[in-house]
Symmetry: C2
């Protein structure tokens, strides 16, 4: 396979990426002028792709496209320009918006700075690879569109509207996300599934006002008692979810899947030690990784009622979220929970249940999808001594659903960020070697997707019909 | 029986009480100069009893004594000088520290102002009665000592030390509290029991840090799940407390007690309507009043953990209080709860339990105690058309235990405040007619206790031996 020549050292890459990091594009309570400056910096890097900065009702998005391969498939590269707030500035060892090259405790070169791994570095890798195709070969191996938003870290409040409104312009056979993170630092991995999300609130009301426990105690239902009684019915003591119908439609784990997951190197002992617990907990009959990757959850994330005095509060509430897996529909899960709650309302109380925010179904991409096979081959080429892990994500990636709904395209996560690089925390960093590893991997991926145009194009057509 | 002449109208009483109300003796973050001014006002009213203002490590106390009946019993009159904060000043219909005479919705004259019913008016009634004995008869019918503190509304942090240190000086056969409140406006009542109090905190810890539910959900015990599972075991669904040994030592309700309580006019329907609940709740087989008056409680007053996001918190906690009845010892109850909790620790968590603050055992005074018979007779004389109710208090009166421990004396609550007079709330008031009713009742009470000196003195001696 042909190969682009990348720089012999990382000096230029680091210099350019440092310019980008120096623009403090914090989207939470962000300064519109700063966000625009960051968007302009990125747009300038896309000069080969007719970049445009488009306003939304929030901060702008940057779009662009290079369509010089009319017969080839089209991919849409997604990433984000905005970064998380710095958090406590005193915890930063070097100034967050001055990218600083340091040696990590693992002996590896790191670049430290806010956004360097989420998502400025990974975006830079994708764009620089494309630039080198044009500089060295005069063309990309397939058509490439670009979409970078400035609001990912605040929940992408305007992305869905924008993508739906510009579905034709953004249309592609595959989305490749430069955002995300590989699961482990020591093994290259690709995500083939992520969980959906459903959030809900339960509120228990008792008397019409807070009551003095000496004047009313023992005569009227205490909403906290009622709430704990109700919530305790949601799980069996052994960890199984006790809500009837909750996992209707979820296929049992096949022996093949089970074997595959059990083959993934995973130390229960290290997991427990890291969390400081003497045992893991969850559905019986499954290991930790199988629980995490394949089973839906129903978690109480918050509970609140009363205070530290002798009062009987008149209300108590809880916030719950479910992580959903393939086969579950958020609406059906919600209805199952509502039925369960209504069947378990404690005496003398009124119970309200409500959904909070939009829900997201689970996402999955077939392991034999051409994007996965191409990405696996690219990683195998760059990391010849390591096995490429097909991982599942317990978390939720709403963009996957958006792109599937609006564009009919699956999303491949192809970020060279790693999960341990302090995303969202002080002292965020990117391992320097990922810059050239990532560019080489993107190069191979784009060549394979262009070269394998029949498979990707054929698959895309099949999916459009289905 | 001889009778003191009280004023033909309330003008002077209201004028003098208004002077007292005008001194804003709010003890929470109180101004020492203001507290002292209020203490001085009260001490001046005790000029017949060699008053002294004594410093404590907090605000001062006022003590005094008239000991002109060497052969008669001695009573100690207790009350408090301090008042609650005003709360939201905008909710007051008239300025809180300007006592204002208004007509209530019940057509009765009221005096409105902070402290007017808790406890300045009731204190004034007791003292004015004593003053009239001396003015009109030159003597009181028995020996009277006085103890007024300035920290009742902040939990009497220095009272116990003071009473123990001055036990000899304060020694009496009976304490009469001018603080407290009658149970109902339409029936005179006396309290013959109050509940004890035990407070505790339960904390459940899971992993060593808050966890992203997408990265760890379903694999590790969630402290909120564990806490609700644990707390749900404390009660049976029918309302009974499920902690073994919790009510060891509590006698079953006798048929006589049951009949007596059932004879008290009480509308379950009005109770439910007032609280806005469609049913009451508590131990089966007992009515609301029997539950309230005779049964211990175990209430979760506060619960807290996590927040409104998708995080698994590493800790969750609850605050509980027990109201105890006669027969229960706080230490034994606490041990029973500890045993229960330790037997129900959910898998994969660590549970901590701790007592919070001091505990108070239940208090009771025999219904045939001479103080009760005398007080009943006094109320019957003032309210000839109404039955005197012997009530029990679901709340806790720590002073009763203090006086019993330090002085070996029972406490009679003889306040002419009523429970509906907005104690601690904006627009606190006192019904004006209670001023003269209260004075007449105190007059009769003191005469009976002096006249019935053999019984009280004999009883006091018996108790000192027991
Ligand atoms: Zn990101
Ligand atoms: Zn009071």
């Amino acid at each position: 396979m042909a190969a682009l020549r990348f720089d012999a050292d990382d000096e230029r890459y680091i210099r350019e990426l440092s310019e980008y990091v120096a623009i403090p594009s914090v989207s939470r309570d962000g300064d519109p002028a700063v966000m625009r400056r960051a968007a302009q910096w990125l747009a300038a890097r896309l000069d080969f792709a007719r970049p445009r900065i488009v306003e939304t009702r929030g901060f702008p998005v940057v779009v662009g496209q290079w369509m010089g391969r009319p017969q080839a498939p089209t991919v849409l590269v997604y990433g984000h320009i905005d970064v998380q707030p710095t958090g406590d500035i005193d915890e930063w060892l070097t100034p967050p918006f001055e990218a600083t090259r340091v040696t990590g405790p693992d002996g590896e070169d790191r670049l430290r700075g806010r956004g360097v791994t989420d998502d400025k570095g990974p975006s830079y890798i994708a764009i620089e690879t494309c630039r080198q195709f044009l500089a060295q070969e005069g063309a990309l191996p397939l058509n490439v569109k670009f979409l970078f938003e400035c609001e990912e870290e605040i929940g992408s409040p305007h992305l869905a509207d924008f993508v739906h409104a510009h579905a034709e312009e953004l249309g592609a056979d595959l989305v490749i996300s430069a955002d995300g993170a590989m699961w482990r630092t020591d093994e290259p991995s690709l995500s083939i599934a992520s969980k959906g999300l459903l959030a809900l609130d339960i509120e228990v009301e008792g008397p019409n006002r807070d009551l003095h426990s000496g004047r009313y105690g023992g005569t009227v239902a205490n909403p906290i008692h009622a709430l704990v009684e109700l919530l305790a019915t949601l799980h069996h003591p052994d960890g199984r979810i006790a809500v009837e119908g909750f996992d209707d439609g979820v296929p049992a784990l096949s022996d093949e899947e089970r074997n595959e997951i059990e083959a993934v190197p995973f130390s229960e002992e290290a997991y427990r030690a890291d969390l400081g617990v003497d045992q893991t907990h969850g559905e019986p009959g499954l290991g930790t990784l199988a629980r995490l990757w394949t089973r839906p959850t129903l978690e109480i994330n918050g509970i609140r009622g009363g205070g530290s005095y002798t009062v009987i509060p008149h209300v108590a509430s809880a916030h719950l979220t479910c992580r959903l897996v393939a086969g579950q529909h958020p609406d059906a899960v919600y209805e199952a929970i509502v039925r369960h709650v209504n069947a378990h309302i404690p005496r003398g109380t009124r119970v309200g249940i409500s959904r909070e925010g939009g829900s997201v179904p689970a996402y999955a991409i077939d392991r034999d999808h051409p994007a996965i096979t191409a990405a696996t081959a690219a990683l195998a080429e760059v990391y010849p001594n390591e096995r490429v892990l097909l991982a599942r994500i317990g978390g939720t990636l709403p963009a996957t659903t958006l792109f599937e709904d609006a564009l009919g395209a699956k999303t491949l996560f192809f970020s060279f960020a790693y999960a341990d690089e302090l995303h969202h925390a002080p002292n965020e960093f990117l391992r320097v070697r990922r810059l050239r590893e990532g560019m080489r991997a993107w190069e191979i991926l784009l060549r394979l997707l262009g070269d394998g145009e029949h498979r990707l194009a054929q698959r895309a057509r099949e999916e459009a019909i289905a």
